[in-house]
């Protein structure tokens, strides 16, 4: 298997092959790695590398992929270098319209802006409550509120678009 693994903004070519012995042959950044990989269960690996032992847990949340190693959560993205699609997808992030999404499920408590309002970066837009805690979502950039997609009192899921700034 050949893939591009993106970790902390760095894209690294990875080649993995399972040998007949059950071990893996690993190449990262074009370099061979003498990594001894053992799958403890479908979401836990024991990796020995130069004698050091690492317990690695798959730690994805929905589409947000990550592993947990040495008590740190490390998000990653994987691309198939043969697939053009994945590259296009990766480029799509920078456009002008910017949705503000709920980071967690909750209830809409207050709207601080209306459609058409001009907003500064970091200006408060909307207050969401969950588990008795209120969170004010702030504008990711300066612009105009082109759409408000929710009403006060509504329950929203994580990832729901609340409003759009352009």
């Amino acid at each position: 298997m050949k893939r591009i693994v993106e970790i902390e903004g760095v894209k690294r070519p990875l080649s993995l092959r399972r040998l007949d012995s059950g071990e893996f042959s690993v190449e990262l950044d074009g370099q061979p790695y003498a990594a001894d990989v053992c799958q403890l269960d479908p979401r836990t690996l024991s990796i020995l590398l130069d004698g050091r032992s690492y317990r690695v847990l798959l730690d994805s949340r929905g589409d947000d992929k990550a592993v947990s190693v040495e008590a740190g959560r490390i998000p990653f993205r994987i691309e198939d270098p043969r697939s053009l699609q994945s590259r296009r997808k990766a480029d799509a992030g920078g456009s002008g319209a910017r949705p503000v999404m709920a980071s967690m499920p909750g209830r809409i408590i207050r709207l601080l802006v209306q459609q058409g309002d001009a907003v500064e970066a970091h200006q408060g837009l909307i207050v969401v409550e969950a588990m008795k805690m209120q969170n004010e979502l702030k504008a990711p950039k300066a612009g105009t509120v082109v759409r408000v997609a929710v009403e006060v009192g509504a329950t929203v899921q994580a990832g729901a678009v609340l409003l759009v700034i352009e």
């Binding site: 893939r3 970790i7 190693v69 990653f76």
Partner: protein, 503 residues
């Protein structure tokens, strides 16, 4: 005369409900769970001997419905109700309703709760008992003018606090007279909204105080003991984050003086069962009465570990009218205990709550580790209640060893699927000021204002990259997988998939 309780209804949910259910089982007492629609799949329902539905998810339609809860108690024949903490635990009207219905409320009598439940009334009781308390008013302030007069007498800076308060709501620090009027108005309206009672009073603001509290236990035969102190100075927005026992700044003499003060207050109010007297301790180790919590507290396990006692067992024995089975002289503290409150909240995202499904739960164990947990793998944390998931507690002979043991346990622990605050504890427990016990109630906010330095080793990124690839290989659906590079690879993949099916 003592009378054995045979069945207890637990009017709560989550880890504390399970804590009480376990105590019941250990004492041979039948346990009755109640649940809202959001909690049918919760652990306390599955672990109790009996379980009955209360109502819809919102607490005011379920866990706060004292009338429904008493109905259930009557119908299933429960002779006593344990309220846990939160919900109805400090509701004197509910305690009185239990008394009227002939059901024992496992806590103080309604009368004692009324004397100590309101902060202003508790301050009056403290004055009557001659306790040192934080200077300020002992009655609700009728007007801004009265507030201004009291503040001047007390001396700035001062705190405005809600009489019915808790959790930092209706609380405002005021550093100069110019700020007072506005702070008074906002504190009143916040208190009105949060507690249905806008009464506020004034306390002198103690600079960089420690929050240290004393556990007391009183039976119905006039005996009252103190079980040492807990230090809860690591707070965020007036919510405790880490608690420990004993406090690093309390020596035997101060412990005795604070303990005897707490017992005096309890006895003045005719208090029975478990309770906690909270103090502020200033930098000269003067202590001031703050308020009393008339219930079992979240952080009671640290006291259990250093005293070797079981507070819930003792609460139940007291409710059975049994005398305390030991005297003050027989209470000995040993070692050090630390508790971390594991919450479904994201320290990297302004501590916003993170309800959702727990897709993975790897727990810590081994020497000196206790966990009081209310969750399981596959459970969905509901939106509707406090985000506490579990309490991880470490015990060791010394404070340093307990800190290092907790760090060890946190390294084993993992919650997947939702964000939680495990990383925050690691940061605190590695912090030099925390380790040297150089803490006060403003400590954590100050720490959080500093950048969290986490230089990652290059090799960890390499391990992560390799692991990412192996997981990817194992999770590809067979149809979209590229042709296997060699013969065994596809076998391995199908074996991995079978393994996932089998689990």
């Amino acid at each position: 005369m003592s009378q054995k309780i045979k069945k207890i209804l637990i009017a709560n949910r989550g880890e504390i409900a399970l804590r009480v259910i376990r105590a019941c089982r250990e004492l041979g007492i039948a346990s009755v769970a109640v649940y809202s629609d959001a909690d049918r799949a919760s652990l306390h329902v599955a672990h109790a001997d009996e379980a009955y539905r209360l109502g819809p998810a919102p607490a005011r339609e379920s866990y706060l419905r004292g009338d429904l809860i008493l109905d259930v108690a009557r119908q299933c024949g429960a002779e006593a109700i344990h309220p846990g903490y939160g919900f109805l635990s400090e509701n004197a009207d509910f305690a009185a309703a239990c008394e009227a219905a002939g059901v024992r409320f496992i806590g103080p009598a309604a009368s004692a709760m009324r004397m100590l439940g309101s902060k202003t009334r508790a301050r009056q009781t403290a004055d009557a008992a001659g306790l040192p308390r934080v200077p300020g008013s002992v009655q609700a302030l009728a007007s801004v003018e009265e507030a201004r007069a009291v503040a001047k007498r007390t001396g700035y800076p001062i705190m405005l606090k809600a009489a019915a308060g808790g959790g930092g709501k209706g609380m405002r620090a005021v550093r100069a007279e110019a700020e007072l009027a506005e702070a008074f108005t906002t504190a009143r309206s916040e208190a009105e909204r949060a507690f249905g009672n806008g009464d506020v009073y004034i306390e002198k603001l103690i600079e960089n105080p420690r929050h240290i509290e004393v556990q007391v236990l009183a039976d119905h035969h006039g005996h009252c003991v103190y079980l040492g102190e807990r230090e809860c100075s690591v707070q965020r927005r007036h919510q405790k984050v880490i608690e420990e026992a004993p406090s690093a700044v309390v020596d035997a003499d101060l412990r005795r003086r604070m303990g005897e003060t707490a017992v005096t207050l309890a006895q003045t109010a005719g208090y029975t069962n478990a309770g906690t007297v909270e103090f502020l301790v200033d930098q000269e180790r003067n202590f001031y009465f703050l308020e009393m919590n008339t219930r079992l507290q979240v952080e009671h396990p640290v006291t259990e570990l250093v005293t070797g006692l079981d507070l819930v067992h003792l609460q139940i024995r007291i409710a059975e009218d049994q005398p305390l089975p030991f005297t003050q002289a027989e209470v000995h503290l040993r070692g050090h205990a630390i508790e971390c409150r594991i919450y479904a909240e994201d320290p990297d995202n302004n501590f916003f709550p993170s309800p959702g499904t727990i897709t993975r739960l790897v727990q810590a164990s081994g020497p000196g580790i206790r966990e009081d947990c209310g969750i399981y793998e596959g459970w969905t944390v509901p939106l509707d209640y406090d985000p506490i998931l579990s309490k991880l507690v470490a015990y060791a002979p010394t404070r340093e060893a307990a800190i290092d043991r907790m760090l060890r346990a946190l390294g084993e622990y993992h919650v997947g699927g939702i964000a939680c605050n495990l990383g925050l504890f690691r940061r605190i427990l590695q912090d030099k000021d925390f380790r040297s016990a150089n803490i006060h109630t403003g400590y954590l906010e100050r720490l959080l204002a500093e950048p969290a330095a986490a230089p990652q080793q290059a090799v960890v990124a390499e391990v992560a990259a390799i692991a990412a690839g192996v997981f990817e290989l194992g999770q590809q659906p067979a149809s979209s997988a590229p042709a296997a590079e060699n013969g065994s690879s596809s076998n391995w993949k199908s074996a991995a998939r079978q393994e996932m099916l089998r689990r």
